[in-house]
């Protein structure tokens, strides 16, 4: 439970556009432990998504260190980073990002296809994940036939089907109504508890904060507060 999986040391990120420089993250020092349910909160432009992208290995810091499972990510090339994402990191996006031509089952299965799992392994895992998010009956539907809440559940199933150590979720409830947002959060808490998956959110939805075990507040690219909540 107290095993450290992520450590950020003096991490900074600066975007350059022509002659304009914008520092999105400044000297971030954070550490994340296994099965934490962490939310990064803050206003738009505070650096939440940038930090999530770096943690998810889809972006690189300009300065500082990002240590993932004891390995310095600076040494990762594109292939290594992809391999880490494939195996250890699941993503949940605000806009779900489901592949429209795939069924619910196929969308979830995709994550396992990339891991070269056998068909029976894939089938078991996909059905288990769909059961966990309560979408077993909709497995043959395609994303355009689903509601926002259902789509986000598919995205969750896709993120957790490979049983990753970390799930990154960028504003997962932003496009959902209160009822669906509550249901989604409950689902993620259950997964967090059952699979010991670490969840790291970016959110500015105050209702989501009620579910978090740790809240990191970001302001202008700095960590202003890091609050651990005893549930």
């Amino acid at each position: 439970m107290n095993e450290e999986i992520i450590r950020l040391e003096n991490l900074s990120k600066t975007f350059v556009s022509g002659e304009i420089k914008f520092t999105a993250l400044k000297d971030i020092n954070l550490s994340f432990k296994k099965s934490e349910f962490t939310g990064m909160v803050g206003p738009s432009g505070s650096g939440k998504t940038t930090l999530l992208n770096i943690i998810g290995l889809i972006d690189k810091p300009t300065d500082g260190k990002y240590i993932l499972f004891g390995e310095n990510s600076q040494a990762f090339n594109f292939r290594t980073a992809s391999a880490y994402r494939k195996k250890h990191i699941g993503f949940i996006f605000q806009t779900f990002n489901l592949l429209p031509v795939y069924t619910v089952y196929e969308n979830v299965e995709l994550a396992l296809l990339l891991l070269k799992k056998t068909e029976s392994e894939r089938k078991d895992a996909v059905m288990q994940a769909l059961e966990l998010v309560g979408l077993k009956d909709l497995k043959d539907k395609k994303p355009p036939q689903l509601s926002g809440g259902e789509s986000q559940r598919v995205a969750i199933a896709r993120a957790i089907v490979k049983k990753p150590e970390i799930v990154i979720a960028d504003e997962p409830t932003a496009n959902l109504d209160a009822k669906n947002a509550h249901s989604i959060m409950q689902t993620m808490i259950r997964i967090n508890k059952e699979l010991e998956t670490s969840f790291i959110f970016a959110t500015h939805d105050e209702k989501v904060m009620l579910y978090l075990s740790r809240i990191i507040k970001l302001e202008d690219g700095n960590v202003s507060e890091d609050i651990k909540i005893n549930s």
Binding site: N53, G56, I58, D59, F78, R79, S82, A83, Y84, R85, K86, K87, F91, F93, T95, N97, L99, P100, V101, Y102, E106, L110, A111, L113, L114, L115, K116, R158
Partner: protein
């Protein structure tokens, strides 16, 4: 690679009618390329066969001075047939002369051939004294029919002009105008008599079992060498057809390029998602290349569905051309039966697949430079 193929396969079918419309467009190029080349191959094969059947046999043994394109070489290009040249060879003696039709003298070649020959299709069996056979084009030009008498003017053994009457006993139909236009065929014995020569020949038509004989006077030209100029001529038509081939291929490939390029623009989020799921950019690039190839595979399958009956019809019943071969200087049957070889179909498929892979790569290579974060926002391009 298996995973990329699976994903591309699903994307192709997921594209629904759009994917099939692309494939239909490519199928037109595929079918037309095979149709066109099949027709040229059929023409080539028919022409070669006709030339062999009517003129070349298994090769010619020609007199060293004989130049088929120079009528003035004829008086110096015949020689007595020696014993070595009697087996598996049909002698032909040529002289020039005039045919008198309606008081007008038209230059012709008088060709004497062994009436007992069976190596070429010229109907020589009825050639006796003062009888001749001519081709249908010659008959049409001179307004002659079977049973007509004709007067032939020629130069006899003393070099004096002389005339002789012949009865047309048969008019044959052939596509090979080199044995038809401006020619009459008579018995070689008769022609030797007219010219005052003893068993002379200008060239021989070789039979199947003929073996080359070393001689200073006679030169053997194989069947392949005789056919070569015809095939080269037809191949130049094929080279011309390459322009159409390239044009059709370009249209098909442009369809693939547009589709793949547009798909990348439209599916940026999907590209970002695949990258986030753990695919490398090269793997994603491969998916789009394979998708491009699938459009082509779909085109080939559709093309084969409606192409096979069409090709079968053209191979069996042929296609007629209003232009006659002699008007364009080549042997050409009025109906050309297309020939579709395995090689033609396999080569066309391979070229289409390779080109579609290459064009898909060109359209999709920008994926390798796309930023994942921007892709996920749909703003990478």
């Amino acid at each position: 690679m298996k995973t990329e193929i699976k994903i591309a396969f699903k994307n192709f079918f997921g594209g629904g009618i759009k994917s099939w419309l692309n494939s239909i467009a490519i199928s037109f190029a595929f079918v037309f390329i095979i149709f066109y080349y099949g027709m040229i191959d059929g023409w080539n094969q028919q022409t070669s066969k006709d030339a062999i059947d009517w003129e070349y046999g298994y090769g010619h043994v020609i007199h060293k001075n004989y130049d088929p394109f120079n009528v003035f070489s004829l008086p110096e290009s015949h020689e007595a047939i020696t014993e070595d040249f009697t087996e598996n060879l049909t002698p032909v003696l040529i002289s020039h002369g005039n045919i008198i039709v309606n008081y007008k003298a038209n230059p012709i070649l008088i060709k004497g051939i062994d009436p007992n020959q069976n190596i070429v299709k010229i109907p020589t069996a009825n050639l006796k004294n003062n009888t001749a056979v001519i081709g249908s084009k010659m008959a049409s030009e001179c307004k002659l029919k079977s049973g007509d008498s004709i007067k032939i003017q020629y130069f006899n053994f003393s070099g004096e002009p002389d005339t002789v009457n012949f009865k047309i006993v048969e008019i044959f139909n052939t596509n090979v105008h080199f044995v038809d236009n401006g020619q009459i065929w008579i018995s070689i014995h008769e022609l030797n008599k007219m010219l005052g020569t003893q068993n002379h020949a200008t060239y021989f038509i070789a039979h199947k079992n003929f073996e080359n004989i070393n001689s200073e006077t006679w030169k053997f030209i194989s069947q392949e060498a005789l056919i070569k100029p015809i095939q080269e001529l037809i191949n130049t038509k094929k080279a011309g057809a390459a322009v159409i081939y390239i044009l059709l291929l370009a249209i098909g490939l442009m369809v693939i390029y547009d589709t793949v390029a547009l798909a990348i623009f439209r599916r940026q989020k999907e590209i970002g998602t695949l990258a986030a799921l753990g695919l490398t950019q090269k793997e994603i690039l491969r998916i789009f290349i394979i998708e491009g190839i699938f459009y082509c595979v779909g085109g080939i399958i559709i093309g084969l569905i409606y192409g096979i009956p069409l090709f079968y019809y053209l191979a069996r019943y042929g296609i007629s051309f209003p232009v006659s071969g002699d008007s364009i200087g080549v042997i050409m049957a009025p109906i050309i039966y297309s020939v579709y070889s395995f090689e033609l179909i396999a080569n066309t498929i391979i070229i289409l697949l390779m080109s579609s892979a290459f064009i898909s790569y060109l359209a999709a290579k920008k994926i390798t430079k796309m930023n994942i974060v921007d892709s996920l926002k749909g703003k990478a391009l």
